[in-house]
């Protein structure tokens, strides 16, 4: 078998593919965080909780209302996004003039409440969400056996991520959003409803987290802790990409998924800290992140 650095090529290709799958989740989640931070200056610690809520919305929708996976993919992010808008209107809005630390504390508290309540009602061991029929099964790539569902996760995530990037960086709506971050008062003077814009931005970022949750629900057991472990990694991804940089969040999400995948082969014990080591290095060498602006 052909080898590179003593590792068989088949193994490298396999880990590359799996890394992209995990990276897809990182990218989707860090994208939402980056949008919220970049356009609103809010450090949204509740992001993991929204991801968990998305998965639970899909699960409960299926169990109690018979809503299938494809409908859940649209409905769950809408429902959770609406929750996000309510949070922004009722709570977050009141903290805009203050130190960003207050927003962080508020969202952190919300995350604890959401996770604690889900734990109270559903317990710790989690529930299975079935893989949709049309995506069941797997393809043999010769170097590995890839479940169709995982391939779909990569595709869906890449499309959504670059779609979001396109909207924010290349359309008129995106230009308005970016203008709101530069000078909200001036934009308001032009007759743009800035508070509405901010609420919609938060709702959109939250909906992205919920979408990641729905995508994840057939892959892992749906449980109250699922967002907890992920959100710290995702924050590191955002810092590496550069706080607030949309493209940085997407690219570093995918790349770090792959790096983590290779760590799992080379030195598995370090696989849960490698992202943080890279974060420390990036902060030392390039404090604004790989794609960040001064």
């Amino acid at each position: 078998m052909t080898q590179i650095f003593g590792i068989p090529v088949a193994v490298i290709l396999g880990q590359l593919t799996l890394g992209l799958v995990n990276g897809s989740f990182y990218a989707l989640l860090s994208l939402g965080l980056a949008v919220i931070f970049g356009l609103m200056g809010v450090v949204n610690f509740a992001h993991g909780a929204y991801y968990t809520l998305g998965a639970f919305a899909a699960l409960l929708g299926l169990q109690y209302c018979g809503i299938n996976y494809w409908a859940a993919l649209v409905l769950a992010p809408l429902a959770v996004g609406a929750v996000g808008i309510a949070v922004e209107r009722l709570l977050l809005r009141r903290l805009y003039g203050l130190d960003p630390l207050y927003g962080l504390l508020l969202t952190f508290g919300l995350a604890l409440i959401v996770e604690g309540s889900l734990h109270q009602v559903f317990g710790a061991s989690g529930q299975s969400y079935p893989v949709p029929q049309s995506l069941a099964g797997a393809v043999n790539l010769h170097f590995m056996f890839l479940p169709l569902y995982r391939a779909w996760v990569i595709l869906a995530s890449v499309v959504v991520c670059f779609g979001t990037w396109f909207v924010i960086e290349r359309t008129r709506l995106g230009a308005t959003l970016r203008a709101a971050t530069e000078n909200a008062a001036l934009l308001g003077a032009f007759g743009v409803n800035v508070p509405l814009l901010k609420a919609a931005t938060y709702g959109g970022g939250v909906a992205l987290a919920a979408l990641a949750g729905v995508l994840a629900s057939p892959v892992v057991l749906v449980n109250s802790h699922m967002g907890n472990s992920l959100v710290t990694v995702v924050f590191a991804v955002v810092v590496i990409g550069g706080m607030g940089s949309i493209l940085g969040a997407i690219v570093s999400g995918l790349v770090l998924g792959v790096v983590e995948g290779f760590t799992k082969v080379i030195y598995p014990e370090a696989s849960n800290i490698v992202v943080f080591v890279i974060m420390a290095l990036v902060l030392i060498l390039r404090p604004t992140g790989l794609f960040g602006r001064e």
């Binding site: 068989p8 880990q15 710790a124 892959v219 892992v220 990694v233 995948g261 598995p268």
Partner: protein, 401 residues
């Protein structure tokens, strides 16, 4: 961030605990404690429903012993050894604690065993797996009650090697419990003429197992030994199914609880071999207990929850028999008695603290075989306590080989 979350939860717990035990420490009470993972990955294995089981035992015993009211204190150790040990010490010093039940997590229980030895408070290890608790970490005041890594390996690994699964690759949780479980299984596999091909150590609570599973597959081994537990076990088995690894490798659950099988569903878990100390559907007595338990928590009891019930009864019976809560007298009585209840028949506590009782090798039913809710296991083999837990190793100074 997580430590802050834990501090807040701990603060809430301390408030509720001190409120409930304001009058304790007085000699008109017998105080039992339960320190367990109440909010983390193992919270369903024993957890809050385990507290319910302990309360059932206290009620079944009559609510009092030696004319003193039996009081239960509970705390969440959050899988942190320092929290478990300091809570235990606090109760022993301030609340007149007489006996303690230790829930899940080997690491926390090792820390609490050291406190038991110093404070001379009998400690029943209910949830931890590590066999070191009756070997190098044994004390004169600890009992390992439900199962250990040696018994799990003797059950599951022996059954699978004998069924033709000769070469093994392990997916191991990277902490005391996982490494002890892998070591025990490796020993059994070699003793029965099998071969250990390799292992990968996975950080606790990994989000994704597929990379590790591909390494297992590349090893060419016949058996995938899952030396992990709880959510880690469920998520790794789920991914093994999805990636078609279960077509070429036979998965072996070195520790699986009823709640794990319930989460996964029989479609994913079917055919799996596992070892358990207890099952709700063994006989009319276990079914009657399970029915009462189900009425309270809407789930069937796990072996740990039944074990917590039994250990509470066993402790109270010993206190009644010696007419005192004196720890040395109670321990002497415990090691000199036979345990006959819904959990076990003819169980006994060995000098090293291991409670020796029958264990069962089970196979998970197919969806077609399962006829009613929670009908998950069929018995492959009933092992005697001696066969399951093996002979005294001599590593514990209290017990000669």
């Amino acid at each position: 961030m997580r430590s802050r979350a834990r501090t807040i939860r701990l603060a809430a717990l301390i408030v509720s605990c001190t409120a409930g035990s304001a009058a304790s420490g007085a000699s008109d009470q017998v105080v039992i404690g339960d320190i367990d993972d109440m909010s983390g990955v193992y919270a369903d294995v024993m957890g809050a429903a385990g507290v319910e089981a302990i309360n059932m035992a206290i009620a079944d015993f009559g609510g009092s012993v030696l004319g003193r009211k039996v009081v239960l204190l509970t705390a969440d150790h959050q899988n942190k050894p320092d929290i478990g040990a300091s809570k235990f010490r606090e109760w022993a010093d301030q609340n007149g604690l007489n006996g303690l039940l230790g829930g899940s997590n080997t690491g926390v229980n090792i820390a609490m065993a050291k406190v038991a030895a110093v404070k001379k408070v009998p400690l029943f290890h209910i949830g931890p797996g590590g066999a070191s608790l009756t070997n190098e970490d044994c004390t004169a005041y600890t009992v390992h009650y439900v199962y250990d890594t040696v018994a799990l390996a003797n059950g599951t690994a022996t059954a699978i090697v004998n069924a033709g699964g000769k070469s093994w690759f392990y997916l191991t949780a990277d902490y005391a419990f996982g490494t002890q479980l892998q070591a025990a299984a490796s020993k059994v596999v070699e003793a029965h003429g099998g071969r250990n091909v390799g292992a990968v150590r996975v950080p606790l609570g990994a989000a994704d197992f597929s990379s590790f599973l591909l390494q297992a597959q590349a090893s060419g081994a016949q058996v995938l030994g899952l030396a992990n537990a709880g959510t880690d076990f469920s998520n790794s088995l789920k991914a093994a199914n999805e990636f078609g690894i279960t077509r070429t490798m036979k998965p072996a659950a070195l520790l699986a609880f009823l709640t794990d099988i319930h989460s996964l569903g029989l479609g994913t878990a079917q055919g799996l071999y596992l070892t358990t100390a207890w099952y709700w559907d063994l006989n009319p007595e276990t079914r009657a207990f399970a029915k009462r338990f189900f009425a309270k928590v809407k789930r069937q009891p796990t072996m740990d929850q039944a074990g917590a019930y039994s250990a509470t009864l066993t402790y109270l019976k010993a206190v009644k028999a010696v007419g005192s809560t004196d720890p040395d007298k109670v321990m002497a009585e415990l090691k000199n008695t036979r345990i006959n209840d819904v959990f076990t028949q003819g169980g006994y506590i060995r000098a090293d603290g291991a409670m020796i009782h029958d264990m069962y090798v089970m196979q998970v039913k197919t969806p077609q075989e399962s006829r009613y809710p929670w009908d998950y296991y069929k018995i492959i083999k009933k092992m005697s306590g001696e066969e399951a837990f093996g002979p005294i190793t001599g590593l514990c100074p209290l017990a000669r080989k």
